[in-house]
């Protein structure tokens, strides 16, 4: 891919993590976070007339596209005093979130299950990539796409594979994934990797320590591809990529990675204990991590982490 020009437009896909449980515990209220996000989005739209925007919102039960909204879905009842160009987006986002909240509330009370802080982001990420692909193929002009995830909940282990697949897809498509951890306890390890792998920025806004969300958004995430070439953006200064093995929970520098499910083992095993893939191992026992036979389609192969990293930096490396 060639380098971005100053005149090139951007395509920003904002993924809002509307995890009710996480937001309820957050020191920064959802309402205020939304307001500041909208200011950021307006700033983005104001930067360049050709800038394009997609806003997705994801709850535990569903993922919706808030903007561009389907015609007729927005009620004109609410009035926002903003610049006319921003109005459509702002109303779509706010009313969309409101609708999503009420339906999520209904779904939660119907199911009577305990709401979890685990967010499901992979769905939204896939959808974002679809939007980007669609917009790219529908225009002849150069458009530089990026995704901004406003994350609130904690990582859900169940979606690791799908999230990783999404991240690698984004990497191949040249899509940056920026992550702003707005609420929720601690850092999101998965999303940190998403930002690192795709070349985006990961920043955590600690509202309790007095961090300002709007300021972080404006300083950290507003810059487009062209500007990023000349800027040192904050974030990513110490992403820990060390991985622990699945079998003993030890931090490993060199280990075995299942080529099918990316499980990490400190010792060679003939069968992956995570996905039950049988490995084709030539020459009997393997004493130390070494390259193994080729994948014949029906059987997996065990690869060393370093090998794995050369193709897909998923798991670990020496920091």
């Amino acid at each position: 891919m060639s380098e971005a020009l100053e005149s090139d437009a951007s395509l920003l896909v904002v993924v809002l993590d509307i995890n009710a449980s996480a937001w309820a515990r957050s020191p920064l209220a959802l309402d205020d976070a939304l307001q500041q996000t909208i200011i950021f989005i307006n700033a983005y739209l104001a930067l360049k007339p050709s800038n394009q925007l997609v806003v997705l919102a994801s709850t535990r039960s569903e993922c919706r596209t808030l903007y561009p909204a389907e015609p007729g879905s927005i009620s004109d009842g609410e009035d926002i005093r903003v610049y006319e160009q921003f109005r459509a987006a702002d109303i779509a986002i706010l009313s969309g979130v409101r609708a999503l909240l009420s339906s999520a509330s209904a779904a939660a009370s119907r199911a009577q299950t305990e709401d979890s802080e685990h967010s499901l982001i992979s769905r939204a990420l896939s959808k974002a990539l679809c939007h980007i692909n669609q917009m790219r193929s529908s225009t002849l002009d150069a458009v530089w796409p990026r995704v901004l995830v406003l994350s609130a909940g904690v990582d859900a282990a169940a979606e690791y594979i799908s999230l990783m697949n999404g991240i690698f897809a984004a990497q191949r498509m040249g899509v940056l994934i920026d992550v702003c951890k707005v609420a929720g306890a601690g850092d999101s390890v998965f999303l940190q990797q998403a930002a690192e792998i795709s070349g985006g920025v990961y920043l955590r806004v600690d509202a309790r320590a007095g961090w300002s969300l709007l300021q972080t958004l404006l300083f950290g995430f507003l810059a487009d591809h062209y500007t990023r070439q000349v800027l040192y953006l904050p974030g990513n200064e110490r992403t820990d990529f060390r991985a622990t093995c699945f079998c003993h929970k030890r931090i490993v520098d060199i280990g075995f990675v299942c080529s099918v499910c990316l499980s990490i083992f400190c010792r060679m095993t003939p069968v992956c204990s995570t996905c039950h893939t049988k490995f084709a191992v030539r020459g009997g026992r393997v004493e130390r991590p070494a390259a193994n036979g080729a994948n014949n389609g029906t059987q997996g192969t065990a690869r060393t982490i370093s090998q794995q990293l050369s193709t897909a930096s998923t798991t670990s490396t020496l920091v």
Binding site: S105, G186, R208, P234, E237
Partner: protein
């Protein structure tokens, strides 16, 4: 001869020096030659100035010894003085035996200058082994003052003899498994190529801190690479065989055909090879054959555009005919063997407008006399290309089936084929939570915010009622975060990223090259020593290990001295960087601290009981 106090004569030989008869004396202090009857030696070499010794070959009539030594009055590195002694005993066998005795005595005292070769040899349990005293220098570490590898007689004894007298040499550890001569050669090659490594080798192995094997055990990859490089064989030359004659004074031409040249002629002219086998030597002598070859029309038509030069010759006319027959035979292009495909891109290059016109030089009748030259060039090109492929001459597959197959392959369009369904296995992951535990380091991250964790599960209804969406986005956002603090955090983070990403931030410090080198050396030597020290400390303590550890710790002072010198140098040096001294100090800080830690840890460990 008058002796220096404490001096003892170990051997004396009757020798001639500068046509004077006298005695060559080996004492415990020096090598001296004294004219018969004289009290003071005419010439003497103190052992510390001793450089090399050379002996006459076994076959030579005269029995000689040549000593080269540093001139004590001039600076190091100046031309050495060379002294040659002839044994006066006419019986060369007796003289040789006497010389050997003298050399054995000499070997007891002469210091080992050639550290690398000496160490490599002794460290791996190999004797120097060379019969000639001036063996080739082993590497840069041997550069200082040449080599005194020793003569055949003292080579075997050298190891044991010198080890008693020369502490520097004896301290080199002998590896358990002696390295093969090949391995030693590889190591020497590596050292001679890599100056930094050889310096490290000097400080560690020659100083006796670690053994040769230990030094190389961590650098196996370097040795392997070197071994592979040394195994690579040179391919055959791709140059055009140009047989140029030497013009004699009489005006004659003279060709020199060595077996090597002959071999190349055979590859270039297969016909000549055939003719050679058929005619030499029973029909014509080899000399005569080559003479006829260079004068023949066959040879000369390939050399000049004028095809008629050279004389006719029965042998080589046949070659000419044969060559023409091969190339002129249009049956080679049997239509049946050609594929029926027309390559439309063939003439794409021909574009008269841009100057890339179709080639007109290859019209058959026009260049008939130049044809052999063309063929020669083509044949040569073919040979060169084939030598690269490292394959024997491949014949073009002349089968009808091959042509048919090519035609079929070219007409199959993949897009129109029915795709075969891929074999797929469903991914069934048993326990997805394992990914999470793998990433989150046992949940240390998730516990970063204890307040959140303590909140406990919340009521669903209260969760949802608490969340509202206000459409008044123009309300004040004051009080949502500290802007000063945020910007400070962001810029600190960006600064860190900038520091990490700046590609040449070490270059920006403007540290002079020599300082940089010195710093790298301090780090290299220090880390290597520390590694071995920590290894020794991890292993069960034995007196021998303890001694080695102690030796390494004492050697720390050398590194620390070097560090101090480097810092001092940096402080006095002129540089664009005003804070060069403190920068260098900061760069050397980690190694200084590590050395101290290592030293303390070793001191805290104490001697093993048996060593006391």
């Amino acid at each position: 001869m008058l002796l220096i106090p404490g001096e003892v004569i170990h051997h004396s030989s009757e020798t001639v020096y500068n046509r004077d008869d006298g005695k060559l004396l080996v004492t415990n202090k020096r090598l001296a030659w004294c004219r018969n009857g004289a009290e003071r030696p005419t010439c003497e070499v103190l052992f510390e100035n001793f450089l090399t010794q050379q002996v006459s070959t076994a076959a030579s009539k005269k029995v000689r010894l040549r000593i080269s030594a540093q001139n004590p009055e001039s600076a190091t590195g100046s031309e050495p003085i060379v002294l040659t002694f002839n044994w006066s005993n006419p019986n060369s066998v007796a003289a040789k035996a006497d010389r050997e005795e003298l050399l054995a005595a000499l070997a007891m005292f002469t210091p080992r200058r050639s550290q690398a070769s000496g160490a490599a040899a002794a460290g791996t349990g190999q004797s120097v082994g060379a019969t000639s005293a001036n063996a080739a220098p082993a590497g840069p570490s041997a550069r200082p003052q040449g080599v005194n590898a020793g003569t055949s007689s003292n080579a075997a004894a050298g190891g044991s003899l010198t080890s008693q007298n020369n502490t520097k040499f004896s301290s080199v550890k002998i590896g358990r498994i002696p390295a093969s001569a090949e391995e030693i050669k590889i190591r020497q090659e590596v050292l001679s190529k890599n100056e930094d490594l050889s310096k490290l080798h000097n400080t560690l192995v020659i100083a006796g801190l670690i053994s040769e094997d230990e030094f190389w055990s961590t650098r196996k990859n370097i040795l392997e690479t070197q071994a592979i490089q040394m195994q690579l064989r040179k391919g055959s030359s791709s140059t055009w065989l140009d047989l140029a004659p030497n013009t004699q004074t009489s005006g004659d031409f003279r060709y020199t055909i060595t077996p090597n040249v002959a071999r190349r002629i055979f590859t270039e002219f297969p016909q000549v090879k055939k003719a050679y086998i058929a005619n030499v030597p029973h029909k014509v002598a080899e000399k005569e054959f080559w003479k006829r070859f260079v004068t023949s029309q066959f040879f000369n038509r390939g050399r000049t555009a004028d095809g008629s030069r050279g004389s006719r010759d029965t042998i080589f006319d046949e070659c000419t005919l044969e060559e023409d027959a091969v190339f002129g035979n249009t049956n080679r292009y049997d239509l049946a063997y050609l594929t029926g495909l027309l390559d439309l891109t063939r003439t794409q290059e021909d574009s008269i407008e841009t100057g890339n016109a179709p080639d007109f030089t290859m019209r058959p009748s026009l260049v008939d006399n130049k044809l052999p030259l063309f063929r020669r060039f083509n044949h040569h090109s073919e040979l060169v290309l084939q030598s690269v492929l490292n394959s024997k001459r491949k014949h073009i597959e002349i089968e009808h089936t091959a042509a048919d197959r090519a035609l079929r392959d070219a007409t199959i369009l993949e897009d129109l084929e029915i795709p075969e369904p891929e074999k797929k296995i469903k991914l069934s992951i048993q326990d997805r939570s394992r990914y999470f535990t793998s990433m989150s380091k046992g949940g240390s991250d998730s516990q970063a915010d204890p307040d959140m964790q303590d909140a406990g599960p919340m009521d669903i209804d209260s969760v949802h009622t608490a969340l509202k969406v206000s459409f008044n986005i123009s309300r004040s956002i004051e009080g949502y975060g500290d802007t000063q603090k945020t910007i400070a955090n962001l810029s600190r983070s960006a600064q860190l990223v900038g520091l990490q990403k700046r590609p040449n931030r070490i270059k920006e410090l403007n540290i002079p090259d020599e300082l940089m080198k010195a710093i790298a050396e301090c780090h290299g030597a220090g880390t290597e020593m520390l590694r071995h020290l920590w290894l020794l400390m991890r292993l069960p303590s034995t007196p021998e290990r303890w001694q080695r550890g102690e030796k390494i710790v004492t050697a720390f002072s050398n590194v620390q001295q070097r560090i101090r010198e480097t810092i001092a140098k940096a402080n006095t040096m002129e540089s664009k960087n005003p804070k060069l001294g403190s920068t260098v100090e900061k760069m050397l800080q980690p190694i200084t601290e590590s050395l101290d830690t290592g030293k303390k840890a070793f001191a805290g460990r104490g001697k093993p009981k048996s060593a006391r």
